[in-house]
Protein backbone atom coordinates (compact mmCIF):
# COMPACT_ATOMS: atom_id res chain seq x y z
CA UNK A 1 0.00 0.00 0.00
CA UNK A 2 1.63 3.19 -1.15
CA UNK A 3 -0.81 5.49 0.62
CA UNK A 4 0.35 4.48 4.10
CA UNK A 5 1.50 7.60 5.88
CA UNK A 6 3.74 7.89 8.90
CA UNK A 7 1.69 9.36 11.72
CA UNK A 8 3.36 10.72 14.83
CA UNK A 9 1.33 11.59 17.92
CA UNK A 10 3.29 13.96 20.14
CA UNK A 11 2.35 13.90 23.84
CA UNK A 12 3.67 16.72 26.00
CA UNK A 13 1.15 17.09 28.85
CA UNK A 14 0.82 15.39 32.21
CA UNK A 15 -2.29 13.22 32.64
CA UNK A 16 -5.42 14.29 34.60
CA UNK A 17 -4.62 18.02 35.02
CA UNK A 18 -5.79 18.66 31.47
CA UNK A 19 -7.74 16.58 28.97
CA UNK A 20 -4.96 16.42 26.35
CA UNK A 21 -3.48 13.06 27.40
CA UNK A 22 -6.79 11.22 27.35
CA UNK A 23 -7.87 12.90 24.11
CA UNK A 24 -4.64 11.89 22.45
CA UNK A 25 -5.00 8.28 23.57
CA UNK A 26 -8.55 8.12 22.22
CA UNK A 27 -7.52 9.59 18.88
CA UNK A 28 -4.67 7.07 18.65
CA UNK A 29 -7.04 4.16 19.30
CA UNK A 30 -9.59 5.42 16.79
CA UNK A 31 -6.88 6.20 14.25
CA UNK A 32 -5.38 2.72 14.63
CA UNK A 33 -8.35 1.36 12.68
CA UNK A 34 -7.06 3.09 9.54
CA UNK A 35 -3.93 0.94 9.34
CA UNK A 36 -1.42 3.72 8.99
CA UNK A 37 2.14 3.63 10.28
CA UNK A 38 1.65 5.01 13.78
CA UNK A 39 4.26 6.12 16.31
CA UNK A 40 3.86 7.87 19.65
CA UNK A 41 6.27 10.39 21.13
CA UNK A 42 6.37 11.27 24.82
CA UNK A 43 8.38 14.28 25.85
CA UNK A 44 8.30 17.12 28.40
CA UNK A 45 5.53 16.46 30.96
CA UNK A 46 4.07 13.88 28.56
CA UNK A 47 6.44 11.28 30.05
CA UNK A 48 4.32 11.42 33.22
CA UNK A 49 1.48 9.78 31.28
CA UNK A 50 3.36 6.48 31.28
CA UNK A 51 4.31 6.26 34.96
CA UNK A 52 3.50 3.08 36.87
CA UNK A 53 1.24 2.89 39.88
CA UNK A 54 -1.38 5.49 38.97
CA UNK A 55 -4.42 5.24 41.24
CA UNK A 56 -7.19 7.77 40.71
CA UNK A 57 -9.61 6.27 43.23
CA UNK A 58 -9.55 9.32 45.50
CA UNK A 59 -9.79 12.01 42.83
CA UNK A 60 -12.89 10.68 41.09
CA UNK A 61 -11.36 10.42 37.62
CA UNK A 62 -10.91 7.43 35.36
CA UNK A 63 -7.43 5.91 35.53
CA UNK A 64 -6.65 5.49 31.84
CA UNK A 65 -3.05 4.37 32.26
CA UNK A 66 -3.95 0.64 31.83
CA UNK A 67 -5.15 1.48 28.33
CA UNK A 68 -1.59 2.24 27.19
CA UNK A 69 -0.93 -1.47 27.69
CA UNK A 70 -3.55 -2.24 25.01
CA UNK A 71 -1.67 -0.25 22.36
CA UNK A 72 0.26 -3.37 21.34
CA UNK A 73 -3.06 -5.08 20.50
CA UNK A 74 -3.81 -2.12 18.24
CA UNK A 75 -0.49 -2.60 16.43
CA UNK A 76 0.85 0.60 17.92
CA UNK A 77 4.29 -0.52 18.97
CA UNK A 78 6.62 2.39 18.29
CA UNK A 79 6.62 4.41 21.46
CA UNK A 80 9.45 6.90 21.77
CA UNK A 81 10.23 8.48 25.15
CA UNK A 82 12.69 11.34 25.34
CA UNK A 83 15.64 10.78 27.67
CA UNK A 84 16.19 14.47 28.46
CA UNK A 85 12.55 14.74 29.58
CA UNK A 86 12.91 11.72 31.87
CA UNK A 87 16.16 13.09 33.33
CA UNK A 88 14.66 16.51 34.05
CA UNK A 89 11.91 14.80 36.06
CA UNK A 90 14.14 12.39 37.98
CA UNK A 91 12.59 9.43 36.15
CA UNK A 92 14.07 6.36 34.49
CA UNK A 93 12.65 3.67 32.23
CA UNK A 94 11.95 1.60 35.36
CA UNK A 95 9.37 4.17 36.47
CA UNK A 96 7.33 3.62 33.31
CA UNK A 97 4.70 1.01 32.49
CA UNK A 98 6.23 -1.96 30.68
CA UNK A 99 4.58 -1.68 27.26
CA UNK A 100 4.96 -4.64 24.94
CA UNK A 101 3.67 -6.04 21.67
CA UNK A 102 3.77 -9.42 19.97
CA UNK A 103 5.82 -9.45 16.80
CA UNK A 104 3.85 -11.22 14.08
CA UNK A 105 6.97 -11.58 11.93
CA UNK A 106 8.96 -13.20 14.72
CA UNK A 107 6.67 -16.03 15.88
CA UNK A 108 4.68 -13.65 18.10
CA UNK A 109 7.62 -12.99 20.38
CA UNK A 110 6.84 -10.42 23.05
CA UNK A 111 8.91 -7.28 22.57
CA UNK A 112 9.22 -3.91 24.25
CA UNK A 113 7.38 -1.04 22.59
CA UNK A 114 9.10 1.75 24.46
CA UNK A 115 12.34 3.11 23.11
CA UNK A 116 14.15 5.83 25.02
CA UNK A 117 15.64 8.33 22.57
CA UNK A 118 17.66 11.52 22.83
CA UNK A 119 16.16 14.91 21.96
CA UNK A 120 18.23 14.88 18.77
CA UNK A 121 16.83 11.48 17.81
CA UNK A 122 13.33 12.71 18.64
CA UNK A 123 13.85 15.68 16.34
CA UNK A 124 14.77 13.29 13.55
CA UNK A 125 11.70 11.10 14.22
CA UNK A 126 9.54 14.20 13.92
CA UNK A 127 11.34 15.24 10.74
CA UNK A 128 10.69 11.82 9.17
CA UNK A 129 6.93 11.86 9.87
CA UNK A 130 4.30 12.64 7.24
CA UNK A 131 1.65 13.74 9.71
CA UNK A 132 2.21 15.09 13.23
CA UNK A 133 -0.62 15.42 15.72
CA UNK A 134 0.45 17.28 18.82
CA UNK A 135 -1.26 17.13 22.20
Amino acid sequence: MSDVKKFLYVNRKAPYGTIYALESLEVVLIGAAFEQDVALAFLDDGVFQLTKGQDTGEVGMKNFSPTYKALGDYDVNKIYVEKESLDARGLTLDDLLPLTYEDEDDDWAEKDSIKVVSAAEMAEIMEQSDVILSF
Partner: protein
Protein backbone atom coordinates in the same frame (compact mmCIF):
# COMPACT_ATOMS: atom_id res chain seq x y z
CA UNK B 1 -33.72 5.23 28.54
CA UNK B 2 -34.25 2.55 31.12
CA UNK B 3 -34.37 -1.21 31.23
CA UNK B 4 -36.59 -3.23 33.59
CA UNK B 5 -34.91 -6.38 34.90
CA UNK B 6 -36.30 -8.48 37.75
CA UNK B 7 -38.22 -5.54 39.21
CA UNK B 8 -35.15 -3.28 39.10
CA UNK B 9 -34.62 -0.41 36.72
CA UNK B 10 -31.23 0.27 35.15
CA UNK B 11 -30.40 3.34 33.10
CA UNK B 12 -29.10 3.08 29.55
CA UNK B 13 -28.11 5.66 26.97
CA UNK B 14 -30.22 6.24 23.86
CA UNK B 15 -28.49 3.36 22.06
CA UNK B 16 -29.08 0.91 24.90
CA UNK B 17 -25.60 0.86 26.47
CA UNK B 18 -25.62 0.68 30.28
CA UNK B 19 -24.94 4.01 31.97
CA UNK B 20 -23.31 2.34 34.96
CA UNK B 21 -21.11 -0.66 34.21
CA UNK B 22 -21.19 -1.76 37.85
CA UNK B 23 -24.92 -2.51 37.68
CA UNK B 24 -24.33 -5.30 35.18
CA UNK B 25 -25.32 -8.87 35.92
CA UNK B 26 -26.23 -11.90 33.81
CA UNK B 27 -29.95 -11.17 33.98
CA UNK B 28 -29.37 -7.69 32.62
CA UNK B 29 -27.20 -9.19 29.88
CA UNK B 30 -30.00 -11.59 28.96
CA UNK B 31 -32.52 -8.76 28.90
CA UNK B 32 -30.34 -6.65 26.59
CA UNK B 33 -29.76 -9.69 24.35
CA UNK B 34 -33.49 -10.38 24.22
CA UNK B 35 -34.16 -6.82 23.12
CA UNK B 36 -31.65 -7.46 20.34
CA UNK B 37 -33.39 -10.74 19.40
CA UNK B 38 -30.40 -12.83 20.47
CA UNK B 39 -30.48 -16.16 22.27
CA UNK B 40 -27.50 -16.29 24.57
CA UNK B 41 -25.60 -19.57 24.04
CA UNK B 42 -22.36 -20.62 25.71
CA UNK B 43 -20.54 -19.28 22.66
CA UNK B 44 -22.15 -15.88 23.18
CA UNK B 45 -21.24 -15.85 26.88
CA UNK B 46 -17.67 -16.75 26.03
CA UNK B 47 -17.30 -13.57 23.98
CA UNK B 48 -19.19 -11.41 26.47
CA UNK B 49 -17.05 -12.63 29.36
CA UNK B 50 -13.92 -12.13 27.29
CA UNK B 51 -14.93 -8.51 26.68
CA UNK B 52 -15.54 -7.89 30.36
CA UNK B 53 -12.14 -9.28 31.25
CA UNK B 54 -10.52 -7.17 28.56
CA UNK B 55 -12.21 -4.07 29.94
CA UNK B 56 -11.12 -4.85 33.49
CA UNK B 57 -7.52 -5.12 32.35
CA UNK B 58 -7.28 -2.26 29.85
CA UNK B 59 -10.22 0.03 30.69
CA UNK B 60 -11.45 0.01 27.11
CA UNK B 61 -13.76 -2.02 24.93
CA UNK B 62 -11.56 -3.28 22.10
CA UNK B 63 -12.18 -2.42 18.45
CA UNK B 64 -13.51 -5.34 16.42
CA UNK B 65 -10.15 -6.02 14.73
CA UNK B 66 -8.47 -6.21 18.12
CA UNK B 67 -11.27 -8.35 19.54
CA UNK B 68 -11.03 -10.82 16.66
CA UNK B 69 -7.29 -11.20 17.03
CA UNK B 70 -7.44 -11.54 20.82
CA UNK B 71 -10.28 -14.07 20.70
CA UNK B 72 -8.30 -16.10 18.17
CA UNK B 73 -5.35 -16.16 20.49
CA UNK B 74 -7.36 -17.12 23.55
CA UNK B 75 -10.11 -19.36 22.18
CA UNK B 76 -8.59 -20.67 18.95
CA UNK B 77 -8.46 -19.78 15.28
CA UNK B 78 -11.92 -21.24 14.57
CA UNK B 79 -13.38 -18.54 16.81
CA UNK B 80 -10.98 -15.72 16.06
CA UNK B 81 -12.48 -14.74 12.75
CA UNK B 82 -15.13 -12.26 11.81
CA UNK B 83 -17.43 -14.84 10.21
CA UNK B 84 -17.81 -16.71 13.51
CA UNK B 85 -18.21 -13.53 15.54
CA UNK B 86 -20.73 -11.97 13.15
CA UNK B 87 -22.79 -15.16 13.21
CA UNK B 88 -23.01 -14.82 16.98
CA UNK B 89 -23.58 -11.07 16.93
CA UNK B 90 -25.08 -10.07 13.57
CA UNK B 91 -25.08 -6.35 14.34
CA UNK B 92 -21.36 -6.28 14.94
CA UNK B 93 -19.43 -8.36 17.47
CA UNK B 94 -17.81 -5.40 19.17
CA UNK B 95 -20.86 -3.17 19.26
CA UNK B 96 -23.52 -5.71 20.13
CA UNK B 97 -21.45 -7.89 22.44
CA UNK B 98 -20.21 -4.83 24.32
CA UNK B 99 -23.76 -3.69 24.86
CA UNK B 100 -24.68 -7.08 26.30
CA UNK B 101 -21.50 -7.06 28.40
CA UNK B 102 -22.56 -3.73 29.92
CA UNK B 103 -19.56 -1.92 28.47
CA UNK B 104 -19.42 1.40 26.66
CA UNK B 105 -19.50 1.43 22.89
CA UNK B 106 -16.03 0.45 21.63
CA UNK B 107 -13.65 3.30 20.97
CA UNK B 108 -13.47 3.67 17.24
CA UNK B 109 -17.10 2.76 16.54
CA UNK B 110 -18.65 5.92 15.17
Amino acid sequence: MALEVGGKTVETDEEGYLENRDEWNMDIAKAIAEAENLDMTDNHWEVVNFLREYYDEYQIAPAVRVLTKAIGKKLGKDKGNSKYLYELFPYGPAKQACKIAGLPKPTGCV
